[in-house]
Symmetry: C2
Subunit: 366 residues, 2 copies
């Protein structure tokens, strides 16, 4: 393991718990992280360099920040040996290209396979590592034409052993998917908070207590600048292209608005409605999602009361958002549950404790 | 009342409950809505036309869809009388301009004051109307140079009587604020779902189970097309200008990415981080918001358990989001609470029931 944070630490824990006879060596630029990993039982042995951690192992996982991937992967491959080498970064083309271009024997370059587990990073650091972090998670791998089959096979089997679902993908497709569903939302949130802050300053106004859309759209704004700098830079070509396409679509709407073409605008929104429903259904593998709105007083215990009622009634909440009203004394809870039947049941349960609830087709504020 | 849906109905309920001697007449294009408003006690009397509803009243609230505002307000003013006439639409310039341009005596035009209560429309229809809907809510009013002071004063006092805080604003400033914090988020969500749907189709991939950013950013995509068509069209000049500014900022980032300037990209994200913190603090009138992440199994009752613990411990949850992991068996709960002290208390309470929790500065996924 080169880098023993949340992901590296979780791989170590999962390997030691699930793979019979597994032994884990770990290096990190931060010596305290190695200590913590030893204490957590995420590694068997701490190492003083990436090369030592990668020496004489079956697989070397490089789990360092995205901006250091090229360097660390190059160092590990350059030290020779027969290990399969992989990484866990959320941009793949940059690291794959850097290995392709590295001054290394083909036999070393062919040992590298890019990787990216889609595992929740709810909090950073080995302290939050969990042996079950990868259970059922998609783990993208980017084998190429020159990838050594024996090393790929070894990596594939170990990743399956960690509980994940290894999924082969090209670096280009991976980076486009991530650009669209993760990197773009971060860019859009960043631009929106900036624009809102500017408008409020120029108009000398406070943030109006409108509906939830602004809060939802800006929740990730300004997320970890060092991490996202690396991701944006590593995936800059694809993000740039997706941003161009995004800006072009904004221009299309600007033209519709300039023409004042109400029915074209409505069609444009209808298209988004259909797209969103399609994506939600894809995400939940075929199950439609229903949204409920409940009007409630805004006080400690209210979320509990509703969640208890639904929990006891066997309804699982897929997503939830709280929308306090301007006075912070009242508000609404939006709940998403899987399937129309669950929605009906949830309505009954919530009505039973005295709050008015409605099923809505889609978030609505105006 | 011209239009007795959620807002019109709530004004009726609030007026009858809070204003001594108030009598409410109501018209709606949908006769069933008038019936429902009578049953709910939101109006004292149903009327067969806007003119009759507005005849011989102190104030006429026009609460119809944004696209019909010009027509209905014009009809009510044209019927004469001495009532103050206002509306509740979420775009103000279009209706104010249409009254200015109307072929009416100045004495009638001066009786109109544009209005917009920022009240939660968690579900449409008079069935969900509440007498306390406007309690503490900002209620924008757009008096102009030619507005009759006596009518403005009358409206101001009644709106205060409904529990709201009347706040004077120019139509231009109102429309820019709404464009930035409400209309833009809807446009951005619509464009993003479309782009993601296209990318997934072209790449023949399923939606990857990445972090919460995509779901948050697209939650309002495709919201009520008829309602949002009207708003987009009514506020099209301002939305168009804000979209141009937004696209220009995207171009600025595209250029930074093209140059591969990592430190400029990091600065750009740092700017968004500062903007978001500023906006959150403004929203809560000075109180900083802390975010906690809790790793949990994903099963009915889990939200309840945590919410009960916090509720009993006196910690109020400002916002909440659930992030199921790929396997839908585990996941994370993000909680936002006001103030560092509440965050510490929440950490203790959650640790007390056995879940690992961390305070994070900002949503983080990669």
């Amino acid at each position: 393991m080169v880098g023993v944070g949340l992901i590296g630490g979780s791989i170590g824990l999962a390997a030691r718990e699930r793979l019979p006879g597994a032994r884990v060596k770990g290096y990190d630029r931060d010596p305290a992280a190695i200590e913590a990993a030893l204490e957590r039982g995420a590694v068997d042995e701490g190492c003083s360099s990436p090369e030592r951690a990668a020496h004489d192992v079956d697989i070397c996982f490089v789990c360092c920040p995205v901006g250091q991937l090229g360097t660390e992967v190059g160092a590990v491959l350059g030290a020779g040996g027969d290990s399969a080498v992989t990484d866990v970064g959320s941009a793949k083309r940059a690291v794959v290209d850097s290995v392709r271009a590295a001054q290394l024997p083909e036999s070393d370059r062919s040992r590298f396979i890019g990787g990216h587990p889609l595992a929740g990073a709810e909090a950073a650091g080995v302290r939050h590592a969990r042996a079950d972090l990868f259970e059922g998670a998609t783990w993208y791998l980017t084998p190429g034409e020159r990838t050594s089959g024996v090393h790929y096979d070894r990596l594939y089997r170990v990743i399956s052993g960690l509980g994940a679902r290894p999924t082969a993908i090209t670096p280009e497709t991976h980076d486009r998917l991530m650009a669209t569903v993760s990197h773009l939302p971060h860019v859009l949130a960043n631009v929106l908070v900036g624009q809102a802050a500017r408008a409020l300053l120029e108009e000398e106004q406070h943030l109006p207590a409108t509906g939830p859309s602004f809060r939802d759209a800006t929740r990730v704004a300004g997320s970890n600048p060092a991490v996202w700098r690396d991701i944006f830079v590593a995936n800059r070509e694809t993000i740039g292209a997706e941003l161009q396409a995004y800006a072009a679509e904004l221009e299309r709407l600007i033209a519709l608005l300039r023409d004042g073409d109400a029915s074209a605008v409505e069609q444009w929104i209808e298209g988004a409605r259909a797209d969103r429903q399609r994506l939600l259904e894809l995400e939940l593998a075929g199950g439609a999602v229903s949204e409920l709105r409940v009007s409630v007083p805004n006080r400690p215990g209210i979320v509990a009361q509703i969640a208890v009622a639904l929990g006891e009634g066997g309804v699982n909440i897929v997503d939830m958002a709280l929308y306090p009203a301007a006075d912070m004394q009242s508000g609404a809870i939006a709940l998403w549950v899987a399937g129309a039947e669950s929605a009906e049941r949830a309505m009954e349960l919530i009505a039973g404790i005295g709050y008015p609830a409605t099923v809505v087709a889609n978030g609505d504020e105006s």
